[in-house]
Symmetry: C2
Subunit: 337 residues, 2 copies
């Protein structure tokens, strides 16, 4: 198995990317291909002692946050991200990992790697940790505007991912809404509610109804389906609140000598609490609906986060998540379209 890695994407590239990829290659036995400015990448490789099953492909250009996301991969065909995606499309690798611009990766991957025929839109489907198996949010920002059919497809794709990657037998799918009653929300939620109910009645997926954000972290649901705007608000609110509170907690624990001593006693247990919501453990965000796995690692990824993202890419290839979606495409279409 070969995992293609955009070595130049992210705040800590190429150092952390190379380090994480080397660790993953050693640990999980996959071949990794580092795509990026060869001299720089090789220098990083040397610094971390090189590695087995690691190769380098040169790419002169780098897509930055200043590039227009919708045209970046077309304008910079020789960028590390573009080249990695082209190689994936041509079968020179089995999956791709990038910590670069989210928008550029979304449009580049859609354009180059392409959607599975019948899939209307690819979606970002991150796993939000909740102290148990975690909850998948689909979509989380790829599509600000959605139709009910997109959401139906996100529900299937999220379910397959939850089964194959998170090991959830019968994932409970909830529709993000502002109340649990069937009549809640906009036309989009009402229409999607009907489609999901029908899919549930037909035994194709397990729909548990409307869910509110408060139900997300309490483990009542495995996949939350929503348009990309609401999903993004949801994810960033969870992240923002967790960050805010952990920061305040830290201040509280260092306020006085007595507090500092008490914090020492609690150190390990509080570390667990912090780790509970740590994204670098979870890996990256899969872009579901494409012909091959593409994983978006967080822009601020360190080596550990990249290692996790590569591990996740390997799991997607092994479980053949893309194949599972493709095989089930018939039930993911609305009949009259």
């Amino acid at each position: 198995m070969r995992i293609l890695i955009d070595a130049m994407g992210g705040d800590n590239a190429p150092g952390a990317i190379v380090q994480g990829a080397v660790t993953a290659a050693g640990e999980f036995g996959a071949e990794v291909v580092l795509v990026g400015r060869e001299a720089e990448v090789r220098e990083c490789l040397e610094r971390c002692g090189g590695g087995k099953r690691v190769s380098v492909v040169n790419a002169d250009e780098v897509i930055t946050m200043e590039d227009d996301p919708s045209t970046a991969t077309r304008r910079k065909k020789n960028s590390s991200m573009s080249l990695a995606l082209q190689m994936l499309h041509q079968g020179e690798g089995d999956a791709c990992v990038s910590a670069g611009s989210t928008g550029a990766l979304l449009s580049g991957a859609t354009l180059t790697v392409r959607r599975i025929p019948g899939i209307r839109r690819a979606c970002f489907a991150p796993v939000v940790p909740n102290g148990e198996r975690g909850v998948i949010i689909a979509d989380c920002g790829a599509n600000a505007e959605c139709t009910a059919e997109y959401l139906l497809q996100f529900a299937y794709m999220g379910s397959f991912y939850s089964q194959e990657i998170l090991g959830c037998d019968a994932p409970r799918v909830g529709l993000l809404n502002i109340g649990t009653e069937e009549s809640k929300g906009t036309a989009l939620q009402k229409e999607t509610y009907a489609l999901l109910t029908q899919a549930d009645v037909e035994g194709r997926l397990r729909f548990v109804g409307n869910v509110e954000p408060t139900q997300l972290l309490s483990g009542q649901v495995d996949v939350v389906v929503c348009d990309g705007f609401s999903g993004n608000v949801l994810l960033k609110s969870v992240e923002g609140t967790a960050g805010f509170l952990m920061n305040r907690l830290k201040k509280t624990l260092t306020r006085s000598t007595a507090n500092k001593l008490a914090a020492l006693v609690l150190r390990n247990d509080l570390g667990e609490l912090k780790a509970l919501l740590d994204v670098s453990e979870v890996g990256g965000t899969p872009l579901l609906g494409l012909t091959r796995p593409v994983i978006k690692a967080h822009g601020s990824s360190d080596a550990r986060a990249i290692r996790s993202a590569v591990k996740q890419a390997i799991a997607c290839v092994e479980a053949d998540v893309c194949g599972r979606i493709e095989k089930n495409i018939a039930q993911m279409r609305i009949k009259n379209t």
Copy 2:
């Protein structure tokens, strides 16, 4: 000043409602009118030792969570909520507080108390605590579907409320979005961005651009404008995450004897952290855009939360928030409509 109180609304009615109202009447010197089943209300009054400036108006019916929100106040004209709203409309009180059904209060108040002429939709505008002055989210669930004109009006109303009630001189208005760039979001956000920019250029309000949920709690903005669907997702995500983490923290602190002892040292400081996100300190959620102040107290309100909501209602009357909106209605309209 007379504050009308729906004594039968909320999980802890009428006991906690009566207790909170009596406390507020004593503390803030306003007259409170308890509307509800007279015998029950008087019994509660006696139990808390009665109170000065407290009167009771009988209402035989009670609106429950089972009643259809959109028709509840019309079907149950003699309910405590309906009667309180009718009295407010007829000038028999200056503001109304209810912890009853949110949907029923919204439709009842819109129908009975009515919108200020020119205001397209009333909005729920709660204050989310952030350790500083707090952030207003407008709208937070009254309108799942919105136009850019609604959002422009929410921006003005939120700003006025922030100035008059929270004492913020020049409130910074942010538009909730999934990125800070002008091009982000759906058609609604793009259109609203243009309207808010124009209002800012004309010196009518202070627009600071698109904001993401993570910026909310870091004190970078005073008013967040959004459609009611996203706003509701935002608020409930913040509440849900805070609840989840505080719960986990509590478990951590009671896990072992050593932890319990350490927690004793930290008790006061952790209490402050908990109070930081405590809704019962903040009061209720104002329904902005109506001819008179209507405050929705949380369904789970205890006496302390009701006291805060009454205090808030008094502040709204004293600051004449409704009058301020009415006087500025000309600039809150889109010219070509």
